[in-house]
């Protein structure tokens, strides 16, 4: 870059070209990322509605949060969601990655098949599971045929059963996604460690815990954060399983469902929705900061 060719004209072009190249992305950055972030921060202190500009209302939206029982329900659902998903989606995909790691015949087929739920949309997955879990669906039907249940379990109409059904399909859909991340990390676990452990007489289970797990420790941390954050952001699964209602009395809603609820129509309140968005940001940033801190400690 220090070698000047075609002096005057070339130099100007050379200085402009980089900007020309980044211009579209920079525009998107400003219009669809930076500006909406700032706007959210401002709107949270107003009572803007879909059909009115709204004006500054101080902390009113945040005071409203304090006695919003739907919000309390949503946060409780989110915490349960996160606490159940976390251990399951950190451990199971690792076991799965170890299972598909060795390139035995047909393994590409299995890897692709295990990844299928990831590429399907959450709506498709939730519709499939609504059918499986409905009162007259396959799961209730089989359970009754086998005598496990007397009557159908109300998977889609009971608050906690709804939450757990949504967790089940989140886990089912997430397995392949995290498996692939682990698979990529397993390539870096040093073979010599496995060999040394085997020479010392460690069996497969022992080697898994004392070689594989420490070897992918950083990936586990990363996945813990990804799982926590996406659990806090859950929307489509609960929305479709409950057919947009959020379950009986709207008690199986998530925080993002509340944001969507206030985004339009009769309930429309952009100010309150923005305040809820800030809350979402605050609770999702927690796990990320924790990761950054742990990573710094490790290095």
């Amino acid at each position: 870059m220090t070698v000047p060719v075609l002096p005057a004209q070339g130099a100007l072009r050379r200085r402009l070209t980089p900007w020309l190249l980044v211009a579209p992305a920079a525009l998107w950055l400003l219009v669809f990322n930076v500006w909406p972030s700032l706007n959210t921060l401002v709107l949270a202190f107003t009572n803007a509605k879909p059909l009115s500009g709204g004006h500054f209302t101080g902390l009113a939206n945040f005071e409203r949060m304090l006695d919003d029982s739907q919000l309390v329900d949503a946060l409780l659902n989110s915490i349960v969601f996160m606490l159940v998903c976390l251990p399951v989606l950190v451990l199971l995909p690792l076991l799965l990655a170890v299972l598909v790691e060795k390139k035995i015949p047909g393994i590409t087929f299995f890897r692709t098949a295990f990844y299928t739920p990831v590429v399907a949309s959450a709506v498709v997955v939730a519709l499939i599971w609504s059918w499986l879990l409905s009162d007259r669906g396959l799961i209730n039907g089989l359970a009754q045929a086998l005598g496990v249940l007397q009557g159908p379990l109300p998977f889609l109409t009971d608050r906690w059963l709804l939450v757990f059904s949504a967790i089940t399909l989140t886990v089912w859909k997430g397995l392949g996604y995290y498996m692939i991340i682990y698979l990529s990390a397993l390539g870096n676990v040093r073979r010599e460690l496995h060999e040394a452990a085997a020479v010392d007489g460690a069996g497969p289970v022992r080697r898994f815990w004392s070689v594989t797990v420490p070897g992918v420790r950083n990936t586990m941390l990363l996945i813990s954060v990804l799982v926590s954050v996406s659990a806090l952001r859950v929307f489509s699964e609960l929305y479709v399983l409950s057919n947009g209602t959020g379950g009986p009395g709207g008690r199986a809603m998530s925080l993002v469902m509340l944001i969507q609820l206030y985004s339009r129509g009769f309930y429309g309140h952009f100010g309150y929705a923005s305040a809820l968005s800030l809350l979402l940001f605050v609770i999702t940033i927690g796990p990320m900061l924790l990761l950054a801190r742990l990573n710094r400690k490790a290095s």
Partner: protein, 319 residues
């Protein structure tokens, strides 16, 4: 699960944080070593017959868990009106398979229009990301200019911002552009994904410096360097981000749900939820609708999976 922004596309969630250090070779070598010599019983050679049987048995169990729900839905969509879909003794094979449900679902909702709407959004998102992320990624990785550091920091900082946080303001932005309730409004915000810019930057950085130093000395312009040296070396990453941009746009739900009002403009995901809400009575029709949304994406992914898995081995995904 996947996409840091919910908005149409970008594939932000689909591929997690970029790997700051290019380390293709290490990963690939590691993987290859792993293939031939990990986890044998006792010695580290080929797996014994016992281990192989156990492995395949476990693989088949997981296969059943992941694939059977899809097959059950497919089977339901092919069952005629006379066949009992509620039976407690389920049969996976329809007794008289029929495509009637696919015709009937099109009478209930304009499902083919919805499919075209989804395709329209996905094409904009794929094109925008292929061009926008490539150009910016190249400039950030290989060219020097004032403000590059600041831009990079801003791009990186968007990664900690879940898309749902800004979705209300995003909608207001789109609305002020007069694009509320339009498909362009659905496609636009995701047309250049910030994560994709960073991933392309990582890919361009992995190209050895010497390769274009010679070109610079020969007086090649940045465009020539991008086309002749850059592009041929980032095809793997480019295919990964375009595949995921397509999938993310096709699968997106929350953002089009907020932007669109007019039922004739729905994308497939929004249209399917609409069908589910208005027509819960016949599971065969809903099953047919879900298959119309699911089959194209699974066929696309299955036919492109080798690019995806190669991208994974080349370190498209952080380890």
């Amino acid at each position: 699960m996947s996409d840091m922004t919910v908005q149409a596309g970008a594939g932000r969630d689909a591929v997690p944080a970029p790997d700051p250090s290019p380390r293709d070779d290490r990963v690939r070598r590691g993987a290859r070593r792993g293939e031939s010599a990990r986890r044998g019983r006792g010695g580290f050679g080929a797996p014994g017959p016992g281990e192989l049987v156990l492995r395949y048995a476990l693989l088949l169990v997981v296969l059943a868990i992941t694939v059977l729900p899809f097959l059950w839905q497919l089977s339901t969509s092919l069952k005629g009106p006379m066949e009992d879909v509620f039976s407690r003794t389920p049969s996976f094979v329809p007794s008289q398979p029929t495509l009637d449900n696919y015709a009937k679902v099109a009478e209930t909702i304009p499902v083919w229009t919805y499919a075209l709407n989804s395709l329209f959004v996905a094409v904009i998102v794929v094109g925008g990301n292929a061009i926008g992320a490539t150009l910016a990624g190249f400039a950030l990785a290989r060219l020097e200019f004032r403000g590059a550091k600041l831009l990079l920091v801003l791009f990186l900082s968007t990664l900690v911002l879940p898309g749902e946080v800004t979705i209300i303001s995003q909608f207001l932005t789109i609305r002020s552009m007069g694009l509320a309730d339009t498909l362009v409004g659905v496609a636009l915000p995701g047309a250049i994904g910030m994560l994709n810019v960073l991933l392309m930057r990582t890919a361009f950085q992995a190209i050895p410096k010497e390769m274009d130093e010679a070109a610079v000395i020969d007086g090649a312009t940045p465009w020539q360097r991008l086309i002749h040296i850059g592009l041929p070396n980032v095809r793997g990453m480019l295919s990964v981000i375009t595949i995921f941009a397509f999938i993310a746009a096709w699968d997106d739900f929350l953002w089009p749900l907020i932007v669109l009002n007019d039922p004739s403009k729905f994308t497939l995901t929004v249209g399917l939820q609409y069908l589910n809400g208005t027509f819960t009575a016949n599971p065969r029709l809903i099953a047919a609708g879900t298959m119309i949304s699911f089959l194209p994406i699974v066929i696309l992914f299955a036919s492109l999976q080798r690019y995806f898995f190669r991208g994974v081995e080349e370190g498209a995904i952080k380890g």
